[in-house]
Subunit: 353 residues, 2 copies
Amino acid sequence: MTTVYTVDSIPGDGIGREVVPAAIRCIDEVARIEGFEVTWRERDWGSDRYLADGAMMPADGIDQLADGDGIFLGAVGQPGIPDHVTLWGLLIPIRRSFMQYVNLRPVRLLPGVEARVSGAEKLDAVVVRENVEGEYSEIGGRAYDGRPEGMAIQQSVFTHAGVSRVAEFAADLAVRRSGRLISATKSNGILHAMPFWDEVVEETVSRSGTVELESVLIDALAARVVLRPDSIDVIVASNLFGDILSDLLAAVAGSIGVAPSANLNPPREHPSMFEPVHGSAPDIAGKGIANPVGQMWAGALMLEHLGEEQAAKRLVIAFEAALADGIRTADLAGTASTLDFTEAVIERLRSAA
Amino acid sequence: MTTVYTVDSIPGDGIGREVVPAAIRCIDEVARIEGFEVTWRERDWGSDRYLADGAMMPADGIDQLADGDGIFLGAVGQPGIPDHVTLWGLLIPIRRSFMQYVNLRPVRLLPGVEARVSGAEKLDAVVVRENVEGEYSEIGGRAYDGRPEGMAIQQSVFTHAGVSRVAEFAADLAVRRSGRLISATKSNGILHAMPFWDEVVEETVSRSGTVELESVLIDALAARVVLRPDSIDVIVASNLFGDILSDLLAAVAGSIGVAPSANLNPPREHPSMFEPVHGSAPDIAGKGIANPVGQMWAGALMLEHLGEEQAAKRLVIAFEAALADGIRTADLAGTASTLDFTEAVIERLRSAA
Ligand SMILES: CC(C)[C@H](C(=O)O)[C@@H](O)C(=O)O
Ligand SMILES: CC(C)[C@H](C(=O)O)[C@@H](O)C(=O)O
């Protein structure tokens, strides 16, 4: 008997089409070693489809993904098409339809990557980002558009259910790590939403007993990431703050090209989605020089989520070994192509098998 | 004939009470040298007053400030009193009543201060932050409070007038500097407010002809501050994004203890307010070790605003000289007290006079 997982792969746009195939080769290799299989359902969804058909994905796209075991996304976004079209036509609907309310973003200094700030040499943090509500809201609009009296109104919505479930996930994670949890807030400026966030986070975390909770204002926290990165372990943050903090932490750890992100539906009622933090990078797309580590690491998070922990570990060890051996793409000041790096990872997977 | 300026000083809480008197001594000294006078109206507004009387400032506080030439604020905030009480009882009402719609935050690597990231050695940037609208809004509230169905709603309000005037200020500043302007956005996530921000900024900046405008997503921009700080000159940002970016830039430049902020009413219909970026720092308050540079630099911005450019320059040169000579407070890994540093600045003012 062989376990077979069905995973939808959506390479998307730009370098997504280069790093997704690279990561898939590595995942197939660890699957072979560990004795399971992945059936990939490749979806040609993205900006080209939008230009041809007027939609990033088919009308029943969400339904097509619903029975899979996971979604493996590259990147979406293309010059000439507004970001809110590409993203709200594909990425955001998937996050929301499948109630992927946790966006998990580990940040670690990888071997052979140079930290940008001192104190980040031992950086090993996780951002637990709320992923379906908050500041990213469709509610709002304009009045007097195009006139001097014009204005735009944007509503943020924070629910007790939404904040408490992400806080609970973060507290559980903190228990398994350092026992410390930082909550990003701005209760001194964002007067309705953020004091509510603080209350629900406190109430939820206090139920989990042992976690030491620290609420830090987002401005001070951004500064702290730069000044004392080693003081950070698990952060729980709203949709917007988590977005900013995870890019910032990735930069402090030397590159946003290596950072992964897992969009999780923790009750496992729907498929979860795994993607790198970086975007479609149109400036380097098509050159074969993109760093596939973010996508590979996202693949490892997916394997972990599927219960294939050994396979996940193998994959991480292999790309870390390749980096440690000095095989690095241009963004990490190396000369390896996407293909060179991928071959190096596969070689290391095989020799460790 | 002597010019006499009337300035309201509000030391406020914590280290505000140590750094404001320090900066005032230096301002009085440059005034003497340059031949003008400052009449200080000291206001004992702040948290102690709140604890005694239930209000951070008198009911007619705003009126009392209205006829002055400027407001010199230390910091507000005290443990045990919620931040939204201390801030929305003093700082925010002043910003809004006096239509201080620009919050100007220069960030520069000062002599003797160590940059936190490579590439920041030549950092010399200015954040032009929108200061009276946007994400900091009183509009919103809760439903089903305290129940599992509970939620908080927060409205952001961006007006054409509000965005265009701050963009115009930033564009004018960019013209006098590098000619480059970065606008912080999140139009791919904050769907109503941020595309509106982008449109109004573009429209406004394009009118000023020569400015090269670049719109950068806030997550990518936060990363860029760390990865390529030297690529940043003038940034225009919303209230929240400007708050985050200015702390972040200050951290990259080595310390948030030295960063100043000018809350400007550019039409000069109302007094402007000058304050350091740092807060009341209760942990070190009362010890006499606070770094007064942020407050002194805020004083220099005030002198500039008053038209006393020579005096402003003298003051900046003097505190930079003290820093360059190795006189530094504990936050900059020095051993000088607030008083030591202040004496050193006054000495240098005198010997340069
Ligand atoms: C205290 C707080 C409301 C304030 C702000 O966010 O505006 C502060 O952080 C600042 O930057 O002046
Ligand atoms: C593309 C954008 C909408 C998205 C976000 O902000 O969520 C991205 O920045 C991310 O972090 O996944």
